[in-house]
């Protein structure tokens, strides 16, 4: 196509980047926020107590809770508390016979009446967490691949499509970037188009392994949905067998026996697992057929040093404590996929590594943002001759403002909503999500009405103000504000407030630069300026 390989790759890079750039910004920003989803959830439920109890005590309280709440369930699944998440999540599956048909218009998954149930339990009290209803950081996590308001299946295909475009954009970007080593550290500021290009290049190259990894592994996480045909040709009759073989899973569970028996104390079972693993800690467990004589417990190892998302598990007879089986060794492809999935989720990351992942994600957002802005900057001179901005450029300008400056407004608004919406309102978490989209919609609308430089500045300043005031709103509405959290050393909550201030400062700086920016003079303009200066000097000499 066109002339030359590099040129056609440059063309492809421009269009794969531009066409999906705005949606990619949403995906990237929400995904980057997800690195701290637990911390965000904690900040959004300040009522949650901080201290963590011993894992075994927590497990015991979980069992007691489940015996009370879901005694008839086929299985109980419990995630034990960890440093990042002090509450316990538990899920249970009710037998088919228990499922009531949904009432008119009611959503299927209602607690207690549906097939599945879940609860978040405070290990200190053994009771369900009494905190405001919110999806917390999970909203961002789901947003970045399930989007919102559209069926999940459509969303995932759309996100996968964008991810594929992004992968092509990354590869073509590297091919096109001729001076990738020479310009490795090059960022020439205050030079208009040159600066935008330098910024785009450096932000892309400095985190290039990250960008390539996160995009490819993102597609890998949903690859069973995108490419199911491999499974169906290799396993024409028993697709379930694929999943057991591919994920080194334990075998399926038998039906419950008629007889009842009391299971061993959970601490004993967890200790057996720890002994078997020579010290590695327990992340959670699933108890099948609680109360039955053939109750079985699968104990999962905690995510730790290994990159892979698949952690080993052990199966015990819950009544006798006998070890029944261990998860089989994983094959090469299973391990590869596990590591790729693990790299994407970064569950293994400690606080330092997590911060670096977060930083890399932010750099990715800057890369995409500078890319879409760069296109507009490059395109604008072509419209200068006619004096009127064409339809395409106007559209891109509006979308740029609405996405690059509008999305931060939406993110900040979400946190404002969490603090300001009435605690007892119905469908509160849905309302919080709606706040995000109302804010984003307003920003997009404003951008479409007036896609000019001042709109950039106003939206950036608005985003800055919204972010910087979050700690203030926090102080006015809760007892978990900086005055308290800094003193008590609660770095999760304090860190959140401080990060909000930092984002506010960054956005304010960007707004200032946008406001103060002077367009570069054309050659004729420079002549006029020089002539005016000369006249001024002449006038001064004459002593006018």
């Amino acid at each position: 196509m066109k002339n030359g390989f590099r040129q056609s790759m440059a063309w492809l890079h421009t269009w794969t980047g531009l066409l999906v750039g705005w949606l990619l910004l949403l995906i990237f920003m929400a995904g980057t926020a997800s690195y701290y989803r637990e911390e965000i959830s904690r900040w959004m439920r300040p009522e949650l107590p901080r201290s963590t109890v011993d894992a075994d005590v927590a497990a015991e309280r979980a069992i007691t809770f489940l015996q009370h709440k879901a005694p008839q369930a086929e299985s109980w699944n419990v995630s034990l508390p960890d440093p990042r998440n002090p509450a316990m999540r538990m899920f249970w599956r009710n037998p088919e016979s228990m499922v009531k048909p949904p009432a008119e218009g009611e959503k299927r998954r209602r607690r207690g009446g549906g097939r599945f149930g879940d609860a978040t339990v405070d290990p200190n009290s053994g009771q369900e967490v009494a905190a405001r209803e919110t999806r917390g950081g999970d909203f961002f996590y789901r947003l970045h691949f399930d989007l919102h308001y559209i069926p999940v299946l459509w969303a995932r295909y759309l996100v996968g499509f964008c991810a594929m475009f992004m992968l092509v954009a990354i590869i073509t970007g590297v091919i096109t970037h001729k001076k990738i080593f020479k310009d490795f550290f090059t960022f020439r500021k205050d030079k208009g188009l040159r600066s935008w290009l330098d910024f785009h290049n450096v932000s892309a190259v400095m985190a290039l392994p990250y960008h390539a990894m996160i995009t490819y592994t993102g597609i890998v996480t949903l690859m069973f949905m995108y490419l199911p045909w491999g499974v169906s040709v290799a396993y024409p009759k028993d697709e379930d067998a694929f999943f057991s073989e591919a994920f080194a899973r334990l075998a399926d569970i038998d039906t419950p026996s008629e007889g009842r028996a009391v299971a061993l104390p959970i601490q004993q079972l967890l200790d057996s697992a720890r002994a078997e693993w020579k010290g590695a800690d327990v992340g959670g467990f699933t108890l099948y057929h609680p109360g039955a004589a053939n109750a079985v417990i699968d104990i999962q190892q905690r995510d730790g040093k290994r990159l892979s998302v698949d952690t080993p598990s052990l199966r015990y007879n819950a009544v006798t404590g006998a070890l029944l089986e261990a998860s089989p060794a994983a094959g090469g492809a299973t391990q590869t996929r596990g590591v790729m999935y693990g790299l994407h989720l970064a569950r293994f990351a400690d606080w330092g590594l997590r911060a670096l992942f977060f930083l890399s994600g932010l750099v990715g957002c800057l890369m995409v943002a500078s890319g879409v802005v760069l296109w507009a900057v490059k395109e604008r001179p072509k419209h200068a001759k006619s004096g009127k901005i064409g339809f395409g450029l106007r559209l891109v300008d509006a979308l740029n403002i609405g996405a690059v400056a509008g999305l931060p407004i939406a993110f900040a608004a979400y946190f404002w909503g969490n603090r300001l919406l009435p605690l007892q309102m119905a469908e509160r978490s849905t309302a919080e999500a709606d706040v995000f989209f109302y804010a984003w919609g307003a920003a997009l609308l404003a951008a479409f009405i007036w896609p000019k430089r001042m709109m950039w500045a106003w939206q950036l300043y608005l985003g800055a103000a919204l972010f910087a005031l979050i700690p203030v709103v926090n102080a006015l509405t809760t007892h978990a504000h900086l005055g308290v959290t800094l003193r008590s050393g609660d770095w999760v909550l304090a860190g959140f407030d401080l990060t909000m201030l930092a984002f506010g400062a960054m956005l304010a700086y960007c707004g200032l630069r946008m406001q103060r920016w002077q367009p570069a003079l054309s050659a004729a303009g420079k002549k006029r300026q020089a002539a005016a200066k000369a006249q001024q000097h002449a006038g001064a000499e004459v002593g006018a």
Binding site: F187, F199, S203, Y210, F348, L353
Partner: protein
């Protein structure tokens, strides 16, 4: 040790940038260093990169270690390219000496 790894990679990148004409010009006016000098910077830079890789693996193992190393490179590179060369080029050389010293001090005292 993570801080030491990050600061060493900062110095590594400083050295590698000094091996380039453009950044020599940024710091010292027209390409101040001879080709021999620049080659020395290049060797030093790569050696420091290898050192920082080693530190990451020692600290986080062979699985998370390389991941950490790439993250260290990202933060160092961003700091140098977006923060220092455009705004405070005079700070680069002193920081390249001071930061690893700081990292070493933190590592030794944290033990």
């Amino acid at each position: 040790m993570m801080l030491l790894a990050i600061t060493v990679s900062f110095s590594a990148f400083t050295a590698l940038s000094l091996a380039m004409d453009r950044h020599q010009a940024d710091l010292h006016g027209k390409a101040a260093a001879t080709p021999t000098r620049r080659r020395a910077w290049r060797w030093l830079g790569w050696a420091l990169l290898a050192l920082s890789f080693g530190l990451c693996v020692v600290d986080h193992g062979w699985a998370a270690g390389p991941v950490l190393w790439l993250g260290a490179l990202t933060i160092s590179g961003i700091l140098i390219a977006f923060g220092l060369y455009p705004f405070r080029p005079r700070w680069i050389a002193p920081l390249a000496w001071a930061l690893p010293a700081l990292g070493l001090a933190v590592t030794l005292f944290a033990r």
